[in-house]
Symmetry: C2
């Protein structure tokens, strides 16, 4: 399967993942033929960017696509798949947690292409640095997806559904929950009219550290030192019950990992 | 106070902060005259790097120092300060949570120089990007410390003890607790023999995002979407009680911030 052979790709979805994936594929030389979204405006906006046809009715889905990519919210994937029937074309979704099997009635050749990154429509990203986890219903599809994925990312790995779910779960801790802690720290500073900018170099360095040191070894702070005096002072300072609860739990766990 | 006027700086401590601060000051043209540590080897190691005299007995402390910097663990600051009596020289500590007052009996001119960063002996860092929070016992000392701090950092701010404690508390959430979450994610992956490397681009991007978007607005993931199906699946997958407890608490808070 060469780039020419797959120069008919259909994007089902027009959100953050669809946008970033569509741009990466276009830049890698692929041709996106259609962009589907039930919201016509959203489909049109992305289709224009990718020089593709916008459709908002699944009946208009081309039969000539080689790879069909469902990049929509997790809970919408199964419903959409039910409305799609393909002959031999490859159908994939891009979710970290949805089973591959939800696509099996739509195409014999189905799979998953899960980009392990937080993507935003409006934020440029170098797709070559994004790990792409792939899974496929059969060896031929796997080969096709491997080739396809490697042409846009330098970090392609084969995983099964269970491993993909584990990776997604770990990502929730490392990304979603960390971001929530950032927002707590912003909140604590705001109440005292201090700027969140102060913490930005520290946040960047904390994240950069794990590139070279295991986070378990890099752990610092009052809990890691067993500094009970500071911990008690912090608990007194925290007025927000939620913040206090988080502080207590995290401290307890860091002290007895 | 020019650089020449303060070319006699004494470092009390030889750990991560003392090392990084000593190097930054030397590079900025200051002269470190002495490095004190009760552990002679440790004092000698840093003193050699800074071309200073190593001492491990406080009785040998020079009387000619202009600025004396106590950069030791929080719970050792007060004890050390009790053994130091200065005439007019400036005495500072570098802690985020210890009160400035613990230094008042040691020198009329005392203060705090708190670098808001996670520092390691062995990891180079550009001190100009590190926010330095300063506090001083009087206006003259404040001016001196402002000048002194600005000569090594581009981000110097005046704070009082209460604000400094707040900043330190916020940093515990943003840095120490985030790092703990990274270690949880590493643990989850390891159990399934998956590499932590997979998450590194995501961790970097999540931290980079807050440079331009408020973390409250950048929040994504199952909890932010109210995706109960995925949340339930994740809770079933988590076998470690501690991890489950964190997942529940963070999810509850993200859903009702």
């Amino acid at each position: 399967m060469t780039k020419k052979a797959v120069n008919n790709i259909v994007l089902i979805g027009s959100g953050n993942v669809a946008t970033r994936l569509g741009i990466a594929l276009t830049e890698a030389g692929y041709k996106i033929s259609q962009v589907y979204s039930p919201r016509a405006k959203s489909a049109a906006l992305l289709a224009k960017k990718l020089r593709a046809e916008a459709i908002s009715d699944l009946k208009k889905l081309t039969k000539d696509g080689v790879v069909y990519i469902i990049a929509v919210k997790d809970d919408a994937i199964e419903g959409l798949a039910k409305k799609i029937k393909l002959k031999s074309a490859i159908l994939v979704h891009t979710s970290g947690s949805v089973k591959m099997d939800v696509l099996k009635k739509s195409s014999h050749n189905h799979g998953v292409l899960y980009p392990l990154q937080t993507l935003s429509k409006d934020k440029k990203v170098d797709f070559r640095n994004i790990p792409l986890c792939i899974e496929a219903s059969n060896k031929a599809t796997e080969l096709s997806l491997l080739y396809f994925a490697k042409s846009i990312s330098g970090h392609v790995i084969k995983v099964n559904s269970s491993q993909r779910r584990t990776i997604h779960l770990a990502a929730v801790f490392a990304c979603n929950f960390s971001n929530y802690l950032y927002s707590v720290s912003e909140n604590i500073l705001k109440k005292e009219k201090l700027s969140f900018d102060l913490l930005k170099p520290l946040i960047a360095e904390t994240a950069a550290k794990v590139k070279t040191i295991s986070p378990a070894k890099a752990q610092t702070g009052p809990a890691a030192r067993g500094d009970k005096k500071t911990i008690e002072m912090h608990l007194k300072m925290l007025k927000d019950k939620k913040h206090k609860e988080i502080y207590k739990l995290m401290t307890k766990n860091i002290m007895k990992p």
